[in-house]
């Protein structure tokens, strides 16, 4: 009945994360940066990641504009990957992308995602899956970029 279904997508944690996103700032000492756009809705994310010598994510931040889902997802993504190795972060990005399209993953993989796992509900709203995955794609693209510290503008 009407908006009650919305509560499935817009859980309290998601609304909170969107209202008070974590790590919403640009890094001054980023080693990897990327700008991704979703041309269908105009959402933009500028993601900056700072990897240390051991390839651990020492710091991460994002700026940009987007809907509740994309903002919450970016906040949750930064929380989940901060302190993780580049390799682990890439695995998590893969888990998240799979989860968003309804592929099964082990509970252990899901636990790794922390709050971000809550966004699995997004698959019931197919038009909104891209909103949730934008920040994770940005992470993946930034970490896989050949040269650290590049700025790329791209569309998903």
């Amino acid at each position: 009945m009407g908006l009650s279904k919305l509560s499935g997508l817009y859980r309290e944690v998601i609304l909170d994360a969107a209202d008070h996103p974590h790590h919403k700032r640009a890094l001054t000492s980023a080693t990897h940066t990327i700008t991704l756009k979703n041309p269908t809705c105009g959402d933009v994310i500028n993601l900056s990641v700072q990897l240390d010598d051991a390839d651990l994510i020492q710091d991460i931040g994002f700026t940009g504009e987007g809907c509740t889902i994309s903002q919450a997802s970016a906040s949750m993504m930064t929380d989940a990957v901060l302190g993780k190795s580049k390799e682990d972060a890439l695995t998590m990005a893969k888990t998240f992308s799979d989860m968003a399209i309804g592929k099964e993953h082990s509970q252990a993989d899901m636990d790794e995602l922390q709050d971000a796992a809550i966004l699995s509900n997004v698959m019931q709203f197919p038009a909104r899956i891209k909103c949730a995955t934008l920040s994770w794609w940005a992470l993946q693209r930034a970490l896989l970029a050949e040269h650290g510290g590049n700025e790329e503008e791209s569309e998903v």
């Binding site: 009945m1 009407g2 908006l3 009650s4 279904k5 919305l6 509560s7 997508l9 817009y10 309290e12 609304l15 909170d16 269908t40 809705c41 105009g42 959402d43 933009v44 504009e65 987007g66 809907c67 509740t68 889902i69 994309s70 709203f125 038009a127 909104r128 909103c131």
Partner: protein, 412 residues
């Protein structure tokens, strides 16, 4: 008048359904309209009784198909009051028609140093073909701006259109702000400077009487699917003398006169521009849509939409935390309303409205330069048509209120 239109629902069975357990309220008509039974039946009848290729056979079915196809052209000619049936070219849609002009007339007539003038509110379909032509020809693409109220700035138009201008191409009605532009005045300006006037009528022809001779346009493009017709069919109107002088758009069957090993001649208008087997059923379906709208009367269609906007717009504007873009005066509006809720992304609004059974669009509406000019990333957009009712407008208002409350409190 609004009440007379309520009976139309019987012709649109698609509207008689629930979406997410709510009554479907279809407010995405600017993207595409629904088709009445009469149009669907015309397609079925054609395929079940008359289907054959046109202009290519002496057998009876081929003659019937050709007659139906050409009859549809005649209906469109009358509908937009073209001077001659050969000025009506079947295309795939507005985008196809505008590309046709850019790559034939534009290719032949725009040179280095020339200007093409469009406006900042154009749909990408009436922007990119000109932008790419300008790049290729080393011409300049100029943009007419808007007034504070979201109307076309005619003083700016007078300044931007000069003796170097070869083409002026403007939407007759905006697909975002619902603004109607003074095409007739623009055509006069263009002609004073020796330019041709191209109008993008995608959002105008379905909603108001259009008379291409009165507007004095040189080219006018529109789509079937926004005016109750099938997808994949559209119309390009062109002034006969211009069309005759233009090179063909595509080459192949149907568009030729004589073909020799090293040279060819072209068919007469309009077939010169209709290469290959056309969307015959689509054209016939469009003819049925024209019949349907003609029966309603375009003056009545326009009046119905204006009544809905006159009812809804002031209420929408009065709602706290909502911004409506474009003219705030209902009299200056088509049934297209772009808006945003405070602190809420239009995608979230559209998802919430969908849960209430209401179909609206959210995004940049294929008008990124306009969004940039308005300082926006995206908007929600509700667009009305003949079968929408005051109850639909009320449902939108109620659901917007509920959406605001949901996101303010995190629950309902």
């Amino acid at each position: 008048m609004a009440s007379n239109f309520e009976a139309l629902h019987a012709d649109f069975p698609i509207l008689d359904q629930t979406v997410n357990d709510e009554r479907l309220v279809y407010l995405d008509n600017a993207a595409t309209a629904q088709r009445p039974n009469q149009v669907v039946q015309a397609l079925v009848d054609f395929y079940q009784h008359d289907n054959a290729n046109v202009h290519r056979g002496v057998h009876t079915l081929a003659e019937r198909a050709t007659a139906d196809y050409e009859a549809a052209r005649g209906k469109v000619k009358t509908f937009i009051n073209a001077a001659d049936t050969v000025e009506i070219i079947f295309t795939k849609g507005t985008t196809d028609g505008l590309n046709l002009i850019a790559s034939t007339y534009g290719e032949a007539n725009v040179n280095a140093g020339d200007e093409i003038v469009i406006s900042i509110m154009e749909h990408h379909s009436n922007l990119i073909p000109w932008q790419q032509l300008a790049i290729k020809k080393h011409a300049t693409l100029k943009f007419i701006g808007l007034t504070a109220d979201g109307e076309l700035d005619m003083a700016d138009a007078a300044a931007k259109i000069t003796d170097h201008t070869k083409i002026v191409a403007i939407a007759h009605a905006s697909n975002v702000m619902g603004t109607v532009t003074p095409i007739k005045e623009l055509a006069e300006l263009a002609h004073q400077h020796g330019a041709v006037m191209v109008a993008d009528g995608a959002q105008a022809v379905p909603h108001m009487p259009v008379d291409v001779q009165d507007l004095d346009v040189d080219f006018y493009a529109f789509s079937g699917h926004k005016m109750l017709g099938p997808t994949g069919i559209g119309i390009l109107y062109g002034r006969k003398a211009l069309l005759q002088a233009m090179p063909p758009y595509q080459y192949g069957g149907e568009m030729i006169g004589f073909v020799h090993q090293q040279s060819s001649t072209w068919a007469e208008l309009p077939w010169k521009f209709e290469a290959g087997t056309q969307n015959i059923a689509g054209a016939i379906g469009l003819g049925a849509a024209v019949d349907y709208l003609t029966k309603l009367g375009m003056v009545n269609v326009q009046k119905h939409e204006q009544e809905l906007v006159a009812y809804l717009l002031p209420k929408l504007i009065a709602m706290p935390g909502i911004t409506v873009y474009g003219p705030q005066d209902p009299a200056k509006h088509t049934g297209v309303l772009a808006f945003n809720l405070e602190n809420l992304h239009p995608h979230d609004v559209a998802t919430a409205l969908d849960m209430e059974g209401i179909a609206v669009r959210a995004g940049h509406h294929c008008a990124q330069p306009l969004m940039e000019a308005l300082g926006l990333v995206a908007t929600a957009r509700a667009s009305f048509y003949i079968y929408n009712t005051q109850a639909d407008a009320d449902q939108l208002l109620t659901s917007l209120q509920a959406t605001k409350e949901f996101f303010n409190h995190g629950t309902i």
